[in-house]
Symmetry: C2
Subunit: 283 residues, 2 copies
């Protein structure tokens, strides 16, 4: 197949490396000429260009730009491609993207390969990035069956574990396991920073160890990413935050009124409950 | 010196191994005869016994029992020891322990070596457990100066980094960096478990990855430990929880009213703020 990739960063570049290995011809588009050259040099693409017209021959196109640019990119792409061309994306939020992109292009299927590293850019691109990682595909009732099948086959060929669900369910699930943790963790840091006694704050700085390190990690990450989650997955994130606040209130109430048996039961539930989220994937 | 250790678990046993290495004579007391035998066999003590009378010759005694038993243990110990005997403990909360133990024994100094492993018991005891770890000493205005000095020297001889502060400041600091994270993390798990749509919950189970794993780790830990933190450090923990809820409410409000610039600033603050808690100790 001829595979188009728009946005040659970590995800786009890594997709190119793997799919080229599987025998596909990779056509890449980046806004930067230097990125195009680097993508060609590293073997992530057969050919790269700053012009979307390069993709007129592609059978399937992966839009790997930042979330805020996906819909706009598809709009610019439209004049160059035919109705048979499948367009997909790799954005970490699906409902607003699928809604706008489906309207623009009948043959659009949303997707979310859930892999990454702490690094960004084409330099960070690597083979097998998606191996054993979830690849969520979010078709709707409007999605052409054959196109869904093609995207699934490509995701499987990367070694990914493919899940298929509605855009809404994807967004609710990632709100729980990815976006809520960021806000919970960020609030832990800001709460600590509000300690008014400088002696206590300094002592807390000194004594913080692995427990604080782990709980605060995702809240201390890239602010742009956190902002993006909140902006694009606002509804599902708020839903999770409200439910979280309810649980927090219950904990505060149990400690305040010294309901130790209830608190103990709660903590037993969390210990057991966590294993469902963890055991299938790692440890 | 003759060093007494009551409670031959991970902490007591590890203290014994190190202090015996430094040339001290270690006298151990455990409620279980089998633990005494094991402590002798592994070299954690020179001599161990189930009877507190063994400690009448000790210059300093470390009470390494669970928090709830420290004060009671000291009461039982009193008849066997002389006024010169320094008594200290290793409990992870200090205010209530220091308050009750100081009343019982003038020569009592609270302490908290902040080291541990996931394992428990004398089998888990190891050399150098306290090396490069914080050892907080919490004297009061009543504490004999020479006794503070002796305890500091012992802690330093373990390779620990010694911090001295009031019991109250210790408890406020560990509420921030240890006890609050447990409740924040536990509430994340219970909130997720309250997802009412089974499809979304199952998907969340499948998609959870390192971000969720790290943020939920301490909340999914030993329920007894979490309960103990809440019971013994209730005041400081509630203080931190209320401040945390305030920050959470602000995040919810910013997302709800789409104050993206404020949210961005907040996340920039957390990214910078986290480094103060992390850089001095690791990474």
């Amino acid at each position: 197949m001829k595979v188009g990739i728009i946005g040659l960063g970590l995800i786009g570049g890594s997709l190119g490396l793997d799919l080229r290995d599987r025998g596909h011809t990779i056509l890449g588009v980046s806004r930067k000429e230097s990125t195009c050259q680097q993508a060609e040099a590293t073997g992530a693409v057969d050919q790269a260009n700053t012009n979307l017209s390069l993709l007129s021959a592609a059978n399937i196109i992966f839009i790997c730009t930042p979330i805020g640019l996906i819909s706009n990119t598809l709009e610019q792409l439209k004049p160059y491609i035919s109705q048979e061309t499948i367009v997909t994306d790799v954005g970490s939020v699906k409902t607003p993207i699928v809604e706008s992109c489906e309207t623009l292009w009948t043959n659009f299927i949303g997707g979310h390969p859930m892999a990454g590293t702490a690094k960004q850019g084409i330099e960070a691109a690597q083979k097998n990035l998606f191996k054993n990682a979830p690849y969520v595909i979010t078709p709707t009732q409007n999605s052409p069956k054959n196109s869904i099948k093609t995207l699934e086959e490509i995701a499987k060929s990367l070694g990914s574990i493919v899940y298929t669900c509605s855009p809404e369910n994807h967004d609710k699930a990632v709100a729980w396991i990815s976006h809520l943790p960021v806000m919970v963790s960020a609030s832990l840091i800001t709460a600590c920073l509000h300690e008014e006694d400088p002696l206590v704050l300094k002592l807390a700085h000194k004594l913080a160890s692995s427990g604080f390190k782990d709980t605060s990690r995702v809240g201390g990450g890239n602010p742009e990413l956190g902002l993006m989650m909140a902006q694009y997955n606002r509804t599902a994130l708020l839903r999770s935050l409200i439910a979280y606040r309810q649980q927090l209130d219950e904990v505060i109430e149990q400690i305040n009124t010294q309901e130790w048996e209830s608190l103990n039961k709660r903590l037993e539930t969390t210990q057991k409950g966590r294993s469902h989220f963890i055991k299938d994937n790692f440890e």
